[in-house]
């Protein structure tokens, strides 16, 4: 009798042990990623939040005293912060739609059925893997007011040369052009795959019914593409809010802050002006804004996908 219970207890214990081992082995797959992201992503975010509410001592290089919302008040009072936010907004509003429209347009062009299609598509990979900082650098050379090839081409066409990096609006245009050059190929590659995956029979049926090209585009192609356009937009948005390298290499925020996107501004405030507390507060503001907007966009994409 006693031996029986002992065996039973052992069985129970071994069963708990197996379940535990099973749970462990399930979570072990998450382990490495969880540890790295916890230490390198979650912890720094908490630390940023802490610094943003503290007075930062440059002697000890640490957050020393909790001062509440003071840093935030400073930042919100700083007109440079607002102008940098505005610059970022202008960049996003122009660059993202331009890249999506151009990307899908070019994808439509190169998807024509011909021998060179694969090659052309592969070649579009090249601008996409040019480091953004290199892209900024080369374009600075191309757009140089005196020696750049762009102004020479503009001159050939009979127009006056443009002062790309001296005029605030043109400098913003230059940033949008460079970013669009760097990222449109990415959209093109996604869009070509999306266009190829569209069901052919619908188009054939529409053609037989006498639908013309334009009405097919508006009433078949675009509605079918809406989910993927939305998804591409989200992926581009996630990249564009981090834009830093191109502005740094091409204009360094100039002239007079006209292209000083928020990431560059925070970087400058932190590592040039050593205003760590204020830049932490700005980083938190940007982080919250990005998270909220990303959440909204993801939610919107889901809804669009469900509807289609």
């Amino acid at each position: 009798m006693r031996t029986m219970t002992a065996a039973g207890a052992r069985k129970v214990r071994s069963r708990t042990w197996t379940t535990l081992a099973d749970v462990m082995s399930r979570w072990a797959f998450m382990g490495p990623a969880a540890i790295i992201l916890g230490a390198m992503l979650a912890y720094p975010i908490f630390y940023t939040v802490e610094i943003s509410f503290s007075r930062f001592d440059l002697m000890t290089f640490s957050a020393v005293e909790w001062i509440g919302w003071e840093n935030y008040a400073h930042v919100l009072d700083d007109y440079r912060f607002w102008s940098s936010m505005k610059v970022t907004l202008v960049y996003l509003v122009f660059a993202l739609p331009l890249q999506i429209v151009l990307g899908f347009g070019i994808a439509f062009l190169i998807n024509a059925d011909w021998r060179g299609r694969g090659t052309v598509r592969a070649l579009f990979i090249i601008p996409m893997v040019v480091a953004p900082v290199v892209a900024g650098g080369i374009w600075r050379m191309i757009l140089d007011p005196l020696w750049g090839i762009m102004n020479w081409l503009i001159g050939l066409a009979g127009f006056a040369p443009l002062d790309w990096f001296g005029d605030p609006n043109l400098a913003m245009a230059a940033i949008v052009i460079i970013d669009t050059w760097r990222w449109t190929p990415f959209v093109v590659l996604i869009a070509t795959a999306a266009l190829l995956s569209l069901p052919r029979d619908i188009f054939e049926a529409a053609e037989i019914d006498g639908a013309n090209w334009w009405s097919m585009l508006w009433s078949i192609t675009l509605p079918l593409l809406v989910p993927i356009i939305a998804a591409t937009f989200v992926v581009r948005w996630l990249g564009a809010v981090k834009m830093f390298d191109i502005a740094l290499a091409a204009t360094y925020g100039g002239p007079g802050g006209a292209t000083n996107v928020i990431n560059l501004f925070i970087y400058e405030e932190a590592f040039r002006s050593l205003r760590f507390a204020e830049s932490a507060a700005m980083a938190v503001i940007v982080l919250v804004l990005t998270m909220v907007l990303t959440g909204i966009f993801l939610f919107g994409t889901r809804k669009l996908e469900e509807r289609c």
């Binding site: 190169i110 050379m141 590659l189 070509t192």
Partner: protein, 286 residues
């Protein structure tokens, strides 16, 4: 007969349309390739051939810029650093990210859905929000200017990317694969490494290569976390482009730019099929 006659103009027009369409597509491609072509071309010019109006297309090519610049700045060391950091973070993030992606796709975990949402949101975290604390912590631990610091920093954006991509990839695999392996006595790890990993090789490799490219190009963390011994190529380029005192040295810019871009382009074109597939999946399976 009448039908054919009726069709003819329409078909001719669409054939013309097709030609215009192809020509426009090729033209767009040429426009997009031109800056890279111009950079590579200029890198073989002498200084006096760079600063000309109209721009010179024909000139005696020279390696002068490469040779002089490779000696002046420690480009070769930066190049080695960039290779180490890109390879290290690519490998680390593919291992950690693929395992976690597999866990999200296939293993019943309590809270997996929440974790998935958090990962997706974490792809939106602007690196600048991490740069300040990383710099301060690295400084107080005395680990600035080290490869491992940069590798771990790059994992913050590479692991979420890999997790998400591989999660979609593993979801598409038939479930029977590891079920039968586990019935045959494989452990969960055994089933993953012996069955799942080998058949997912194309996806894993293309994701890893893309991760390495992302690490290769990264600027912000490299600027903040390194200054001398572990500094990477993008930092050098930012330095050359941002030299406001002497004006940008275009020879150096094009030469170092070419060195940075060519290996990545070769790599990317070698795996272009997988790369395009991976990109398409990354956007659609999100």
């Amino acid at each position: 007969m009448t039908a054919a006659a009726f069709d003819a103009p329409l078909r001719r027009r669409s054939r013309l349309g097709r030609k215009v369409r192809i020509a426009a597509g090729v033209f767009a491609c040429v426009v997009f390739l031109f800056p890279v072509f111009w950079m590579v071309l200029s890198s073989f010019k002498e200084q006096r051939d760079i600063f000309t109006v109209p721009p010179t297309l024909f000139f005696t090519p020279t390696l002068e810029t490469y040779i002089s610049y490779m000696q002046r700045a420690d480009i070769s060391r930066r190049l080695i650093n960039t290779v180490i950091v890109a390879a290290g973070s690519g490998l680390l993030s593919i291992v950690a990210g693929a395992m976690a992606g597999y866990a999200l796709a296939r293993i019943k975990l309590r809270g997996a859905g929440t974790i998935g949402v958090i990962i997706l949101l974490s792809r939106g975290v602007p690196p600048i929000a991490l740069a300040v604390p990383m710099f301060l912590v690295a400084r107080s631990l005395g680990v600035t200017d080290m490869h491992i610091t940069l590798i771990l920093a790059y994992c913050t954006f590479l692991i979420p990317y890999v997790m998400w991509l591989m999660r979609g990839f593993f979801l598409a695999l038939p479930k029977e694969l590891e079920e039968s392996a586990m019935i045959d006595g494989c452990s969960r790890f055994g089933a993953f490494f012996k069955i799942i990993v080998p058949i997912s090789m194309p996806g894993l490799l293309s994701t890893m290569i893309f991760s390495m490219i992302l690490a290769w190009e990264e600027l912000l963390f490299a600027l903040v976390l390194t200054n001398r011994y572990a500094s990477t190529i993008p930092v050098a380029i930012a330095g050359i482009a941002g030299d406001t005192v002497n004006g940008a040295n275009w020879g150096a810019l094009t030469a170092v730019g070419t060195i940075t871009v060519i290996p990545v382009v070769v790599f990317a074109l070698l795996v272009q099929k997988w790369l395009i597939q991976g990109l398409a999946d990354g956007a659609t399976k999100g």
